[in-house]
Symmetry: C2
Subunit: 351 residues, 2 copies
């Protein structure tokens, strides 16, 4: 998270200005909190150019609850098929939940090449009457990110899990039926998930869904159907403002993210094969740079050495191994430069 | 929240000791967070004497998601009937969700007397083969609180919504099948809900539940099935320690809560009918003191005058009106004394 946001949160922690109490103590119905919630929504609308055709919801349960809410609201009872593009681990978890709610079909699965790529033109075909087309814009674990939205017929709502690349670049929300992201990568602390839902889709939700799982309840109550995660929303609002005011918007954020990721990919590409990137070049993520070293011993010593330079959390996800450098929005350019230097030195010493 | 907790959170906000990062930034899989989660669980186990027969889960979605998770896990597919005691608004919302999952029956409903009372012996009969008996230990809006657990056959798991009186007094958890509480009254910030579940009940959960809704997933992953609300759990842990170390445990907390609530009930009882308590004497809540004034004008001026004395949030819930003084654990005795003095003065001036 940006230091300036953390410092503001710290300064307001005991006593939120004008409230005589912590933001954690005031009611979610208190005008001061409701104003903060509306401001957070408005800033997201501004950053992403979200039109009034969409609801901006703040939910609990993380991305994992969206794996179920999406098919519960958009697939259950429709008699249609939900179609999934599988480019990594999170898409696979999502389709597993969808299959509990109805007919869910993987129409593209890069599992055979260990999720190192994106579909090329013609690699999949979406049925015109599909309930929706689902994809994960950035597969966090594999470091595979779509550059543009995947091809999708106009008749089919596009649904995106943007958990790990939300707010890393501008997006044309009008291309989506539903886009969601848990906050804990770029948008805020764990505990709040943003769901941007095209209003016409709300008509699909079956009335007998568990109340919390029905998007309509949250939309009608403006994310106060029950007590929302107030503190997390408050912090998310500050981060959105930091993106707008300090960074200068999502175009500027994208530029920084391109610079940061290119710095690392360059080290990989110029290492004479010492570092082997996991994702194919066209599929490389701006957020998660994944690569392997020649063997497990070197990998272990890379992680151990890096820790001595205060470079932490580099171990790849336990399901795929290797190294993963997560360079989310708040990671400063200098942090990435430190890692790049270390990588070069390590390759020289061990190559 | 206790000031000492808020101050600690503030001091650790930017940089959690030893982590070189904010608690909001470190991964939920980071040992430092996992230790905090375990410590929070352990402190709750200590405070309430929770045995190893129970799981202590930290969930998202608030109490409202529990309204659905309970019947989804414990009723769906059993062919049994879930039985509900309705002593106020929250129980009514809970049974509405249960009816979506199966056969749910209200076996006691105090709606005819505007939810001012608790069931007396013989007022209800629980079937020996009920899926569970559900009640809300403290109806927040009506200010009606059970003193003891309601009578329930040994064969039937007792389920309690303790959202608004959790940790206000000692409890014998061994009497419960499941007890849950959203944190935002006594236990922490909004965004985390504690569910204490007897392990044998986990066998009931249907395998095809939405993953997030299945208690087994959370139990098996020790509340890390997906990213938990890390910051909220961290604060909850501090509040639990404050209860244990600064207050001296739940017996001491109960004593304070009795003293605080009696102070206000005494003013009501000695007001010659100027203040009319909503709950019958035996049903009076330690947490939410609800009462009415002679007419709406006096009620409005009571709220306006009180605000001038920094006494806020006294307006009763919009569904029932009147006045509600919520005096949760963290409300100091002096705050209650200030309110009591104000009430006496106001009655004298307007009575
Ligand atoms: C792309 C993606 N989807 C889903 C998730 C799951 O999020 P949560 O743990 O909040 O359920 C993650 C978490 O890392 C993610 O990166
Ligand atoms: C007794 C009780 N149950 C349930 C709830 C609902 O909690 P949430 O808003 O977290 O869903 C509340 C909230 O005030 C409550 O007091
Ligand atoms: Mg609007
Ligand atoms: Mg969430
Ligand atoms: Mg144990
Ligand atoms: Mg919660």
């Amino acid at each position: 998270m940006p230091l300036s946001v953390l410092e503001e949160v710290r300064d307001e922690l005991v006593c939120y200005p004008g409230a005589g109490a912590s933001i954690m103590e005031i009611s979610h119905r208190d005008k001061r909190f409701v104003d903060l919630l509306h401001e957070a929504q408005a800033t997201l609308r501004q950053l992403l150019g979200i039109s009034d055709d969409y609801e901006v919801l703040f939910l609990q349960g993380g991305a994992a609850l969206q794996f179920s809410m999406i098919p519960a609201n958009l697939l259950r009872g429709t008699g249609k098929t939900a179609q999934y593009l599988l480019t990594g681990s999170w898409g696979k978890k999502a389709i597993k939940e969808a299959k509990k709610e109805g007919d869910a079909l993987s129409i593209y699965d890069a599992g055979e090449t260990n999720y190192d790529r994106l579909p090329a033109a013609g690699d999949y075909q979406v049925a015109d009457d599909a309930a929706y087309l689902y994809y994960c814009s950035n597969e966090t674990i594999q470091g595979v990110q779509f550059t543009d939205e995947p091809a999708c017929p106009d008749s089919v709502p596009l649904v995106s899990d943007a958990s790990s690349d939300f707010l890393c670049r501008p997006l044309d929300i009008s291309k989506y039926g539903l886009l969601y992201a848990c906050a804990q990568k770029n948008a805020g602390p764990a505990g709040v998930t943003v769901a941007i839902v095209r209003k016409d889709l709300l008509q699909r939700s079956p009335a007998d869904l568990p109340g919390y799982l029905n998007y309509n309840n949250h939309a009608e109550a403006d994310s106060e159907w029950n007590t929302p995660p107030t503190f997390a929303i408050y912090v998310l609002g500050k981060i959105a403002k930091w993106l707008r005011d300090d960074i200068g918007g999502l175009d500027a954020m994208l530029q920084q993210n391109q610079q940061k990721s290119q710095t690392l990919y360059q080290v990989i590409d110029q290492s004479n094969g010492f570092y082997r990137g996991h994702a194919q070049t066209e599929a490389r993520s701006l957020m998660n740079v994944t690569f392997n070293l020649p063997n497990d011993d070197l990998q272990a010593s890379f992680i151990a050495e890096a820790a001595k330079h205060d470079l932490a959390a580099l171990k790849g996800h336990r399901s795929v191994g290797g190294i993963r450098a997560s360079i989310y929005n708040a990671m400063p350019v200098e942090g990435v430069n430190t890692l790049a230097s270390f990588m070069k030195d390590f390759a020289k010493a061990n190559g």
